[in-house]
């Protein structure tokens, strides 16, 4: 009897010893890991002094060219385009970047979503969004579209180009991702302040993101149509911006406001631009910086009469 007791108690002692040892190794493991993590965090306070800009793929080319030009003056500026205009605004709202590039005006919902952010918008130029079709379709007879026709095309109700006076060719719609400035301009043209309907369930409908992707897919797809900044089709003769309601997106028509899908381009900051951020934005507003807008097919503030 006593033998069994001592045996079992010895076993308990041994197993507690094991538990203690196991606990010790676990504890030291925790220590090791936390040391590694805090080591990282501790040395993490030294941030770089680069200005970070992110957002609209429409504004990005101008922003990168300006950044390139200011490199020689020691300004360090990064440009990213993840998420488009709305992505830029949300990253500014969460304090990840210094400048949001936007090709759409700030909305009330944006302001409500980030109440702590003091959004200050600076317009740097303007741009026309075209309803872009392929040259094949334009040459086939589509010389212009009405608002109702554009709505029919993007809602999937018009599925063949011959319904709008073009060739016997299926329509393929490339729509922009949600949050893209370009899409909001198109929605505003078609629906005004109303809510756009859900996308059509047609087979010939796909989503695209940035402007370059849109252009690439337009070029590689017969009978395609997409909203795209007209600046992006310069030098691409296989794509055509159709006149809307009889008004072509010419410089004069855009500047006078006759063309319906004109939009401002913005740089948005949290509070008034200061220091290097101000230097950067001021450069874009200067005559040299404004030339960059012309280079990319956009309108300068002067052309817009601003």
């Amino acid at each position: 009897m006593s033998f069994t007791i001592s045996e079992s108690s010895r076993r308990t002692v041994r197993s507690t010893g094991r538990r203690v040892r196991q606990g010790a190794s676990l504890a030291s493991a925790c220590l090791l890991l936390s040391a590694a993590l805090t080591g990282c965090a501790g040395s993490a306070k030294a941030g770089s002094n680069a200005i970070q800009a992110s957002g609209s793929t429409t504004v990005a080319p101008v922003a990168s060219d300006a950044a390139e030009a200011l490199k020689s003056k020691g300004l360090n500026i990064t440009v990213a385009t993840q998420g488009g205009s709305a992505g830029g605004i949300s990253q500014l709202g969460t304090g990840q970047i210094n400048i949001a590039l936007s090709s759409k005006p700030l909305s009330e919902t944006d302001k409500k979503a980030y109440p702590d952010t003091d959004f200050v918008t600076t317009q740097i130029g303007a741009d026309a969004v075209g309803v872009i079709i392929t040259k094949e379709v334009a040459d086939g007879g589509v010389k212009g579209l009405s608002k109702a026709q554009v709505a029919g095309l993007f809602e999937g109700k018009i599925t063949n180009w011959k319904e709008v006076g073009g060739p016997d060719l299926q329509v393929f719609v490339y729509d922009k991702e949600p949050g893209r400035g370009t899409r909001e301009v198109l929605d505003k043209f078609i629906y005004g302040e109303g809510e756009p309907p859900a996308p059509p369930k047609s087979a010939n409908y796909a989503i695209v993101g940035g402007n370059l992707e849109t252009r690439n897919k337009l070029k590689s797809t017969r009978g395609s149509i997409a909203p795209l900044s007209t600046g992006f089709i310069d030098g691409h003769p296989e794509l055509v911006a159709v006149p809307l309601e009889g008004v072509a997106p010419s410089l004069a028509n855009v500047a006078s406001g006759a063309y319906p899908m004109t939009r401002p381009l913005f740089m948005i900051t949290n509070g008034k631009p200061e220091g290097t951020v101000k230097q950067y934005i001021d450069y874009i507003l200067s005559p040299n910086g404004q030339k960059l807008l012309t280079q990319h097919g956009y309108l300068t503030l002067k052309q817009m009469g601003l």
Binding site: C30, S64, E177, A198, A203, L212, T221
Partner: protein
């Protein structure tokens, strides 16, 4: 505590007594266990962070699970969140990919391991492993440049963006993975089984069927699961070719086929799009996206558990007796030989084709200037900064992941009981199979938003570490498992404590396998795109070497290729993209070459044990 010479049949590895009583030598190497357990903790920490991100996300708003699982209408503007179309899309592309890849992958593996003489098999095996390690962004580029036009040319598919294109891209991507893992499983079957079967007068086909496959089956199944996990979790390659159209669901069975050639959306492409950035970090929109993440994670976990359950049983199960008809034995044998060797042609052609395309179109990379100059504007100049950024990410990831993965592998291989091993292994495999887009989003919310790091290379590293740790841990644990029992027994008979046993027996025995695992993991991490887009990289303007640690974004090759491949209309961007892809492939090939070198040296050294 006595020494048991008989190892428990259920234990997958050499189960080591925790300590030999009466010996005080254990103290000397106690650090081994602290380090080893921190590896396990890092795996658990990753899971905790991931689940924490998803659960708090879901808790921050209400999720209508019924709608999410049964409705296909996704309309954030109207606060309607139906995920059925995305679940359907994920299922279809994965089924397509498996249907195309599994038969070819398995047959190629059998041909390689059982039919070809070693002189031929070795370089081929190497090529398949190289293919398996090709970064998925390169497959994405091939998808955009070759498979999209191919599908467009198949029939009335304007543009070619479709579920079918995504399925083909995934199949091409996972087939080498399936083949490579299966080859390893087949090679692990000891030769004496084959010899015994041949000596019974069986044909080669019968030997493979009755003696080899039963023993390799669990490993081959693991290969399929690895492939499935990769297919389920792949975001970017699919993102580029699927069309990203919401709300697509066939209404009848007949529609299923016509919907294959239509644009669609998967769980991962939805998460890789702009919406996680637009949804903020709380509210119903964010909650719905997190719920999609949970569904994705659950799908991967189910596949994982299903696979590991099979392999745990398979270890102990004796091969079933098979009744094989004697009819046409020899012709059947010849036919299978032809089919299997034929299947080997496919990955072979694939490899040659890919190398050809890369060399033909990525010519820029052959010019050293391209490697050593910085990029100019959107698509000009070289890619020096992108290469440096990628190497920085890889180096820091390796520094953190190696000790953690090694430690976890040692614990899984030696310390834990059979049941605990299974749990730990399942968790590790789950972390390893976790869709990297989820790691990226969790990292984005945790590091970039909550901790205010902004985009930084360190956030990118933190996201890549969980990609590498499981690979290291699992190769290490697997190697420990294959240790001959005699070694363990001899070590214990000499009176080594468990930590001394790890230090002087396990580590010398496993380090080449561990390093191989590290290099394989790094080769995978090198091509990760989706998580880096959210956490670490920008397209323009980041300095070559970051000047800080947080708020210090970098440029990296995968995201560079991603951005350029979308701009594939401009010829200079195409050249730049292919050139960058070739450089990225060369970097992964170098990592892999090193892994193979290690393995070969190691296989030579191993002979004394067999």
């Amino acid at each position: 505590m006595g020494l048991t010479l008989e190892r428990p049949t259920q234990a997958p590895g050499p189960s080591v007594p925790l300590s030999s009583s009466g010996s005080n030598r254990g103290k000397r190497a106690r650090w081994v266990w602290g380090w080893a357990y921190s590896g396990v903790l890092s795996v658990l920490l990753t899971l905790t962070v991931l689940l924490g991100y998803l659960v708090t996300g879901i808790a921050s708003g209400t999720v209508d699970w019924t709608a999410l699982l049964t409705s296909s209408t996704w309309s954030p503007g109207n606060l309607t969140f139906g995920g059925l179309a995305m679940i359907y899309g994920s299922a279809v592309v994965c089924v397509l990919a498996l249907l195309l890849a599994v038969p070819v992958g398995w047959a190629a593996a059998i041909a390689l391991s059982e039919y070809l003489p070693p002189r031929l098999a070795k370089p081929l095996r190497l090529s398949i492993e190289l293919l398996a390690a090709v970064p998925s962004i390169v497959y994405g580029l091939i998808g955009i440049m070759i498979i999209r036009p191919f599908v467009a040319g198949l029939g009335n598919v304007p543009g070619g963006d479709s579920l079918l294109a995504a399925g083909i891209v995934l199949a091409v991507m996972i087939m080498p993975t399936i083949a490579a893992v299966s080859v390893d499983a087949l090679a692990a079957v000891p030769g004496r089984y084959r010899e015994a079967a041949y000596s019974l007068g069986l044909t080669r086909r019968e030997v493979i069927r009755s003696a080899v496959l039963p023993r390799a089956r669990s490993g081959m199944r693991a290969g399929v699961l690895l492939g499935l996990a990769r297919a389920l979790g792949e975001a970017i390659a699919v993102f580029l070719v699927i069309g990203r159209a919401d709300d697509r669901l066939p209404e009848s069975l007949g529609d299923v086929f016509s919907f294959l050639v239509r644009p669609g959306q998967t769980l991962t492409t939805k998460l890789a799009g702009p919406e996680p950035m637009l949804a903020g970090t709380s509210g119903p929109y964010f909650a719905a996206l997190c719920a999609l993440g949970v569904i994705l994670l659950v799908l991967v976990a189910v596949a994982t558990v299903w696979g590991t359950r099979g392999s745990a049983k398979g270890g102990a199960r004796a091969p079933r007796a098979r009744r094989s008809s004697a009819w046409l034995r020899i012709p059947k044998d010849r036919l299978t030989t032809v089919v299997r060797l034929g299947a080997l042609l496919l990955p072979g052609t694939l490899l040659l084709g890919m190398l050809g395309i890369l060399l033909a179109r990525g010519g820029a990379a052959l010019n050293p200037v391209f490697w050593f100059t910085a990029s100019e504007g959107a698509a000009g100049g070289g890619i020096r900064d992108q290469i440096l950024g990628t190497l920085l990410l890889l180096a820091t990831t390796a520094l953190i992941a190696l000790p953690l993965g090694y430690g976890a592998g040692i614990v899984i291989g030696t310390r834990a009981s059979a049941k605990a091993t299974r749990v730990l292994e399942t968790l590790t495999v789950t972390v390893g199979g976790t869709p990297t887009i989820l790691l990226g989003l969790a990292g984005y919310v945790l590091f970039c938003t909550t901790m205010g790091w902004g985009r930084s290379w360190l956030a990118g590293t933190m996201v890549l570490v969980p990609v590498v740790v499981p690979v290291v841990a699992l190769t290490t644990a697997g190697r420990i498992r294959s240790m001959p029992a005699e070694i363990t027994e001899a070590a214990l008979a000499l009176g080594l404590t468990s930590s001394q046993y790890v230090r002087s027996v396990v580590i010398p025995y496993t380090w080449p396998a561990t390093l191989t695992g590290l290099l394989l993991g790094l080769a995978r991490a090198a091509g990760e795109t989706a998580p880096l887009i959210f956490t670490a990289t920008v397209f323009f303007g980041a300095p070559a070497v970051p000047s800080g640690i947080v708020n210090a974004p970098i440029q990296a090759l995968p995201t560079h290729i991603f951005t350029l491949s979308q701009d594939s209309g401009a010829p200079e961007a195409v050249d730049q993209a292919w050139g960058s892809a070739l450089v990225l492939v060369l970097i992964t090939a170098a990592l892999l070459g090193l892994a193979v070198f290690l393995r070969n040296r190691f296989e030579g050294a191993r002979r004394w044990t067999v």
